[in-house]
């Protein structure tokens, strides 16, 4: 008998919250992206936990797709960061406020 589903879910929730708070607190855009990765991992963990619990491979397949999306997101996100940094050196997320109303 493996560890109960609840603990995995709570762990995932904790991990997600850490990512969320990090995203809101950190100013470095790269670190913010890493926090997004943390949140994605938390959801992956949930998927796999349910897949194991339900003995259904669908949850694992979903993780597969989340991975792809995460990869794509990181690629594009980093590309954006690079081009922003080219424009203005050492920019943090707070410097990018041209959307100010």
């Amino acid at each position: 008998m493996s560890v109960d589903l609840s603990y995995y879910l709570i762990l995932a929730a904790v991990l997600f919250t850490i990512g969320l708070i990090g995203l809101l607190v950190r100013r470095n855009v790269l670190v913010m992206l890493m926090c997004v990765e943390l949140m994605l991992n938390a959801s992956n963990l949930t998927f796999v936990a349910f897949a194991s619990k339900l003995k259904d491979v669908g949850g694992q397949a979903d993780v597969f797709f989340v991975l792809v999306v995460a990869a794509a997101e990181v690629v594009v996100g980093l590309a954006i960061i690079v081009s922003i940094y080219r424009k203005r050196l050492g920019a943090t997320a707070d410097d990018l406020s041209s959307l100010k109303g």
Binding site: G19, L24, C35, S52, K55, Q60, F65, L67, K87
Partner: protein, 228 residues
């Protein structure tokens, strides 16, 4: 406690991994140096990979290590090195008023509610093994492959499109030319004009090899405008 009802090695593994995962997550959030944050991220990813194994998702665990730790984090580090942004961020100060306090309150409220609402309800009520039977070892991988390439065929294809788009987008965003950009642009526009309006279409697939670069650089200007 349920935790104790699990077999001993399983519990030990879970606890250790949980510590690693949460510690790595906190490390990402709290470390001043982006490089350190990235390394902490790797730690979290490894912890999650071990948990995947624990949940008998062997293949995903391997993929997790190879893609996340091996590719994505390396990509992060590349960017950090490339841009030289590995200088320390001052975590002590916060320019946005109350941002940190509200963020923590909101985050904890979120966590509290998830756990509060869910406590005692963390059970699955779905039907079992609809897509395919998940089991450890080789048969699990076979089932995953079957599911991916039959039941999830359409999403699978869509992800391939998504990746292509992401690659093209990244190339478009990054691969801009340097200071000489303006000259190149002028040359192209001149050339496009002589070639006639049809050839000058930006997304025209049938352009010849040597024109791909030119076309792309036209795209860059578009990208630039979007970003700026």
């Amino acid at each position: 406690m349920m935790l104790l009802s699990a077999t001993y090695p399983d519990s030990i593994t879970f606890v250790l991994c949980a510590i690693v995962v949460v510690g790595g997550g906190l490390g990402v959030v709290l470390s001043n140096n982006p490089v350190r944050a990235a390394l902490n991220l790797v730690m979290t990813l490894f912890g999650v990979a071990v948990l995947f194994v624990e949940l008998s998702a062997d293949f995903l665990a391997v993929v997790q290590v190879i893609i996340y730790a091996g590719a994505i984090v390396v990509l992060f580090l590349f960017v950090i090195m490339l841009l030289g942004v590995d200088k320390q961020e001052k975590l002590g100060s916060e320019p946005l008023i109350l941002q940190r306090v509200i963020a923590i309150v909101v985050g904890l409220a979120f966590l509290g509610m998830i756990i509060g609402y869910g406590w005692g309800n963390f059970n699955s009520h779905g039907s079992y093994s609809v897509i395919g039977v998940a089991s450890g070892g080789d048969s699990g991988i076979v089932e995953l492959a079957k599911a991916t390439f039959s039941y999830y065929l359409l999403p699978f294809e869509v992800t391939s499109v998504l990746l292509i788009i992401a690659i093209i987008g990244a190339v478009v965003l990054i691969a801009r030319s340097g200071p000489g950009e303006d000259e190149v642009k002028e040359d192209i526009s001149a050339e496009i004009k002589t070639d006639g309006p049809k050839e000058g279409h930006e997304n025209d697939v049938s352009v010849s090899e040597d024109k791909v670069d030119e076309v792309r650089s036209v795209d860059f200007t578009v990208g630039e405008e979007q970003i700026v």
